[in-house]
């Protein structure tokens, strides 16, 4: 099971945080601080995994943004790495050539996409199309009017 997902920039600025287990604010801050310092301090050509307390941290850098996923010890690291990658693909498909700015200015969208992909620390849906369709359906409402018949129509 996944415990948390953090997105932060090369300067260590947090861009997105998602916690799958209840933690106090202090614990969260500690984790964020530890993650940014540990991940940013990694040497090039080290592996993408870190041990941290009883968790494993899987991180990957895409352009200027670090994606950092905390999972339980028995999880499969390579799979977690692909979870990150799939999320990036989803963001990319939605924003079209996604960059850090997209996520900064539309972080709520990034959260919506994440919620369709992962839920409660588990992978919910792995089909890229399904997730995108789902987000777009809801988005239609945002940009359009809120006629209820229209939504029902959308879902068929």
């Amino acid at each position: 099971m996944m415990r948390f997902l953090l997105l932060f920039s090369r300067q260590g600025k947090l861009r997105l945080q998602k916690w799958y287990t209840p933690l106090t604010e202090r614990e969260k801050k500690k984790i964020i601080r530890d993650m940014t310092t540990m991940v940013l301090a990694r040497q090039p050509r080290s592996c993408n995994f870190i041990h941290w307390k009883d968790l494993k941290i899987i991180y990957k850098r895409y352009a200027s943004l670090y994606f950092c996923l905390g999972v339980e010890r028995e999880e499969n690291e390579l799979l977690a790495l692909e979870v990150i990658h799939r999320y990036v693909e989803l963001l990319d498909k939605y924003f079209g050539n996604v960059c850090e700015l997209d996520i900064i200015f539309n972080f709520e969208k990034a959260y919506f996409i994440l919620d369709e992909f992962l839920i409660g620390g588990e992978v919910q849906e792995t089909s890229k199309q399904t997730i995108n369709r789902c987000i777009e359906n809801s988005d239609m409402l945002q940009e359009d009017d809120n006629n209820e018949w229209y939504e029902v129509e959308l879902f068929g």
Partner: protein, 1124 residues
């Protein structure tokens, strides 16, 4: 219709993504959020940022609390609040508005409202209660998006107590026509299952329906639940093995829609989930494992593409193959696969390869030999993580020969590591292997010294404890004991003479204790000198007062002779008026005892044995004192949980939803006696628990008596393998001397080393030979448990007859006769063949090539539906197993004194040609007896019979007067064990081993036995008044609505009667719509049940002083009521 929608939908994204992008950029330039973000990026210092955000928060606060703010503005404000929180500034004023937004906003506002709630609030936040109504409303909405949002929020965070309120609605959604709703409902139920398993027990059948859903997404979601449920109870889902295998087969061969492919690999997440499920199902289960072999082979073959995701699958596959019942062919393939990982140049793969290797060598240590050079390279890898993982691997292959090298490597790592968590973990491992394989006293003490100084004060408490225990209890050889103690004393004296300031407190405590206890062994050491050394410790500033008490205690033991006494006196002067009471007491003791040598000799005899102390946990010797105090008007003692409860009662808010509420009718209980100290006092129970815990703590360390090799290339290695190997060990034994120069071992270790090698290579080879030295001999080593009797120096004295260490020497004398029980099952058991048959036909029914949908429906038919015939093969095989022994062993009757008592059917546990073991259990009044019937079918007598059991939740003790030792040929014997519950569970699983000698050969047989909690439940006859007092005392409770049974006039009485009849509850009283009942676990641990009829269901509330008991009992109540 749906086609049309599909088309419009596929056309939409292109339109939309363009649209959303332009909107996004537009928004960012004008919106307040955009302004805020830009404002922050322009700032130079943290201080400026703080000021800006505080200003922002103030304006936000105004905005959200203004009544004129529209929902649209509110939504925008909420997004900014989320942003501020992400930067680490609290915006708690907005929480309530987030809930309001979710409640009142239009759909798009709602979405942001829900998102904000999820990000702001935690599972147990009190404001979440306000969300329940909104969620309820949205779940019932006709708008699918609203339903989706509600389900999403529910599966992220929902107050546990409120689950019953929405459960029926979520359950209903399992039948929804849209797959996305079904999928989200399944995931919400999964979350509920994790939070409160017994709440969703009644819908297990519906999970099966989800597993057969025609939409792969829904099926995938249901696997989360199944993985969890199977983890909790593997036995309950064996019948699904076939279905999981079929699904995996279809996935692997690419029958799912392309949509589920990930980089051309078909549904990897699904595959991995299935592999995990299969590995649990196949563990120790030959029959289930056999169904899997084919598909596992297929998975290994298919995963060819060079991509991370295929390696992820391969890794799970290898793990699965090595977890389930072994198959030599698969093992070989899996081993090859690991090889590819380990030699990979990609560092991530290398890491995973090491992990896989670590997992696999626990079963097959020889594999490490193939990769020695890679492992050596990894030891020097620049990435610390790789190093760490390599040490983990080495830890698993440690034996008496390589322990010094491995410990050296670990300590080297410890010197560099700065991470506390790693240090603690590794220090524990060093201590463990050092104790287990120490080659000599000097090395052991020195290693432990390093452990203590490196581990510092974070070290696990059981390391110093078990070290001291080892020193004090000693082992079988008295001479060795003395030597070890002497060495410790010498080493500590010299340590204290050096720099002591840096030594951690824990280490100082150990030193003080050892010196106090054993420095008299060194006769040429003046006690006064030790006293001086110890008293110097007291002057160190950093020393904690806890350590000071240890030091004072040590001085108390030491002070004999003129000089010591005067030293003691001066120390007493310093501490007699210390503000620390414990310290003050120790100082007084020291003063008194130093003046009275006779008393001291009596109190602290020099040669104390390790006799166990009798401890009276109930503190009964204080009874007189307590009653005196009570008589003098003191307040009676209340256990902490009761105090806590009373406090809670004063200010508690009723959290029950109204229609489901379960008001306690307080007036019907008498509250008067609730504080009586004579009632089951929680205190003695509690202290009892804590001792059990500490006892467990000390024994919890891994016992890996030599890495045992159970599986080999040819499959299961029967324990009595070739004799020649045994001989070999003896001839090679000089090698096992740890002081042997590493070069000498090399010639033996591996022939793979090329004859001419450059210098650095040479070094590595040397290292390899010293690291892997034990492994080349591993076959023989592990077969006998121990290579030579002296290998493990510090073998603890055997305490219990069934402890593993005492059983080991028997195994050494094993001779090579192929009669292991497993072998027999393989070759002779006719059952295996018959029970396999139905499975095979069942496999062929499935059409090999079908469309996806049809295929998944096929899965549905093939097993999960409850009325289907697929469960039959499993059942028949079980029945047959039960039948067969009847032909062979005729007489099995209960002993006369147990005849009248309720007992279960006698079932067969394991049998071979020569032996049959069956068992049943008898429910006695205050305990449960397990009767084991052993029939000797062979022509020779069985001797030295010994049963041992391993179970965590039960305590097993022999209750026959004469333990069973031998069974003559062709005769039977009964052995009676009494079982008591240690920790309640729904079912208790016991794994037992029967060892015996027959025609002077030792053999072993394993079996398992399962019994439900209900066997331990007895009625508890109490009055309503007593019930009332107990009810408030008990802190563990659980509530749930159960189905009412109506046979006659009064459903409540009927239902209670069923519980009484089937579970043996005592019905205390029925008043109108409420009823109370009581029961106890066999050894007097009570559980109370309160129930109330409420809108056609029975609201049940269980309470007990024992954790988990209410939950487990509730499960059985539910089962019983469902059955009728």
């Amino acid at each position: 219709m749906s086609d049309v929608v599909e088309k419009t939908l596929t056309a939409l994204p292109s339109l939309l993504s363009l649209d959303s992008q332009t909107v996004a950029t537009k928004l960012s330039s004008t919106s307040k959020l955009g302004a805020l973000i830009r404002g922050i990026t322009e700032l130079r210092s943290k201080h400026e940022e703080e000021k800006l955000i505080q200003r922002e928060l103030a304006s936000l606060k105004d905005q959200v609390s203004s009544p004129h703010t529209s929902m649209r503005q509110m939504k925008e404000a909420m997004v900014r609040a989320i942003y501020c929180e992400m930067l680490g500034y609290e915006a708690s004023f907005s929480y309530i508005h987030a809930i309001k937004l979710a409640q009142q906003g239009s759909i798009l506002d709602k979405r942001v409202g829900y998102l904000a709630v999820c990000l702001f609030l935690k599972e147990n936040h009190e404001l979440l209660l306000l969300l329940v109504n909104t969620v309820l409303k949205d779940l019932q909405s006709t708008n699918l998006i609203e339903v989706c949002m509600a389900l999403t929020v529910v599966s992220q965070m929902f107050p546990k107590d409120m689950i019953p309120a929405i459960l029926p609605l979520v359950e209903e959604k399992l039948n929804h026509s849209k797959e996305i709703i079904r999928r989200k409902a399944v995931l919400a139920l999964y979350k509920f299952y994790v939070m409160a398993p017994n709440q969703v027990q009644h819908i297990h059948n519906k999970f099966r329906k989800a597993l057969c859903d025609k939409d792969p997404g829904v099926m995938f979601a249901s696997l989360h639940i199944y993985l969890q449920m199977i983890k909790d109870n593997p036995e309950g889902y064996k019948d699904l093995t076939g279905s999981f295998v079929t699904i995996l087969k279809q996935v692997v061969s690419g029958k799912l829609p392309m949509d589920f492919n990930y980089h051309t690999v078909p549904a990897p997440w699904l595959q991995i989930q299935l592999l995990r499920i299969l590995s649990i199902l196949g563990k120790n289960d030959k029959h289930s494992s056999e169904i899997m072999y084919e598909v596992l082979d297929e998975s290994l073959k298919r995963a060819e593409i060079n991509h991370n995701i295929t390696y992820a699958i391969l890794y799970e596959c290898v793990k699965c193959i090595y977890t389930i019942y072994p198959n030599s062919d698969l093992h070989e393939k899996a081993a090859k696969c690991i090889g590819n990982f380990v030699i990979s140049s990609k560092i991530n793969l290398k890491y995973l390869g090491l992990k896989a290797l670590t997992f696999v060598i626990q079963q097959d240590p020889k594999l490490a030999l193939q990769h020695q050079m890679t492992i050596i390279e990894c030891l020097d890898h620049p990435d610390i993580l790789i190093k760490r993982e390599t040490l983990e691997l080495l830890f698993r292959i440690t034996n008496a020969q390589n322990v010094t090298v491995i410990v050296e490597k670990m300590l080297e790592f410890l010197h560099q590591s700065k991470d506390d968590y790693t240090t603690i973990d590794l220090v524990g491992k060093v201590a463990e292997i050092a104790e287990k394989y120490a080659p000599e006293n000097k090395w052991f003490i020195e290693t432990m010294n390093t452990v203590f100084s490196l581990g510092g004060d974070m070290i696990q408490a059981d390391i110093p404890n078990s070290f001291l225990k080892l020193l004090s209890e000693g082992f079988d050889n008295e001479e060795e004991n003395k030597k070890l103690r002497l060495f410790a004393v010498d080493s500590y004296v010299s340590l204290l003479e050096g720099e002591t300031r840096k030594l951690p407190q824990r280490f100082l405590q150990v030193i003080a204790w050892v010196l106090g206890e054993y420095s008299h062994l060194r006769t040429d050491l003046d006690p006064a000198k030790v006293m001086t050394l110890l008293s110097k410790l007291l002057d160190i500033r950093q020393i904690s007062s806890e350590t000071k008490t240890w030091v004072l205690m040590a001085m108390t033991k030491l002070c004999s002779g003129e000089a010591s006494i005067s030293k003691a006196q001066s120390v007493c002067e310093d501490y007699r008026s210390s503000s620390d009471t414990v310290l003050r007491q120790r100082a007084h003791e020291l003063q008194l005892l130093s003046q009275d040598p006779a008393l001291r000799g009596q109190l602290l005899p020099l040669h104390r044995g390790s006799e166990t102390l009798e401890v009276d946990f109930s503190l009964s010797f204080l009874d007189a004192f307590v009653s005196e105090a009570l008589a003098a008007g003191a307040a009676p003692y209340k256990p902490p949980h009761q105090r806590h409860e009373e406090l809670a009662q004063e200010k508690a808010l009723s959290l029950e939803p109204y229609e489901l509420s379960l008001p306690i009718n307080m007036s019907s209980y008498s509250v008067s006696g609730r504080q009586s100290p004579t009632l089951m006092s929680g205190s003695s129970g509690l202290s009892g628990d804590s001792t059990e815990l500490s006892a467990k703590g000390s024994s919890a360390t891994l016992k890996l008596e030599g890495v045992k090799r159970v599986w080999g290339k040819e499959g299961y290695l029967s324990k009595e393998d070739p004799v020649e190997e045994v001989a070999q060990v003896e001839t090679l034994s000089p090698l096992s001397s740890p002081n042997q120069p590493p070069g000498a071992g090399r010639t033996l270790s591996n022939a793979a080393a090329p004859s001419e090698t450059p210098e650095p290579q040479q070094e590595k080879l040397q290292l390899a030979s010293s690291l892997f030295v034990g492994l080349s001999l591993q076959t023989s080593v592990c077969l006998m448990g121990q290579p030579e009797p002296t290998a493990q120096r510090f073998r603890r004295k055997a305490k219990t007859p069934n402890s593993s260490s005492s059983a080991l020497p028997e195994r050494v004398s094993v001779a090579p006769v192929p009669t292991s029980s497993v072998d027999n099952m393989l070759s002779h058991d006719p059952l295996e063949a018959t029970s396999m048959l139905p499975e095979v036909t069942h496999e062929t029914i499935l059409p090999p090539n079908t469309e996806v949908n049809a295929l998944l429906i096929d899965t549905a038919n093939s097993s999960p539906s409850p009325s289907n015939g697929v469960e039959i093969p499993f059942e028949t095989s079980e029945n047959e197993i039960a039948k067969t022994p009847k032909h062979e062993c005729p007489v099995r009757s209960l002993p006369p004194d147990l005849l009248g008592l309720p007992h279960t059917k006698i079932t067969s546990l394991c049998s071979s040609q020569t032996l049959d073991v069956s068992a049943c259990h008898v429910e006695k009044d205050d305990s449960v007896s397990l009767l084991i019937f052993t029939s000797n079918l062979s022509d020779s007598d069985m001797e030295n019979i010994h049963f041992s059991f391993s179970t965590e939740q039960l305590q097993v003790s022999l209750s026959s007067e004469r333990p069973l030792h031998e069974i003559l040929k062709h005769s039977n014997a009964v052995c009676e064990y009494s079982l008591t519950v240690h920790a309640p569970a729904i079912h208790f699983q016991m794994v037992g081993t029967l060892s015996y000698e027959s025609s002077s050969q030792s053999r072993e047989m394993e079996f398992s036995y399962k019994l439900p909690l209900s066997s331990f439940i007895r009625p508890l006859v109490i009055s309503t008044e007593q019930y009332g007092t107990h009810w408030l005392d008990f802190s563990n409770d659980t509530k749930q609505n159960l189905a009412l049974v109506s046979e006659g006039q009064d459903p409540l009485t009927d239902t209670l009667n069923i519980l009484k009849r089937k579970l043996g509850l005592h019905v205390v009283e029925v008043i109108g719509l409420e009823g109370i009942a009581a029961c106890r676990l066999a050894q007097d641990q009570p559980c109370l049940l309160h129930c109330r009829v409420n809108a056609g269901t029975l609201a049940v509330w269980l309470r007990s002083p024992v954790p988990k008991l209410p939950d487990c009992l509730l499960y059985h109540c539910q089962r019983v009521l469902e059955e009728t």
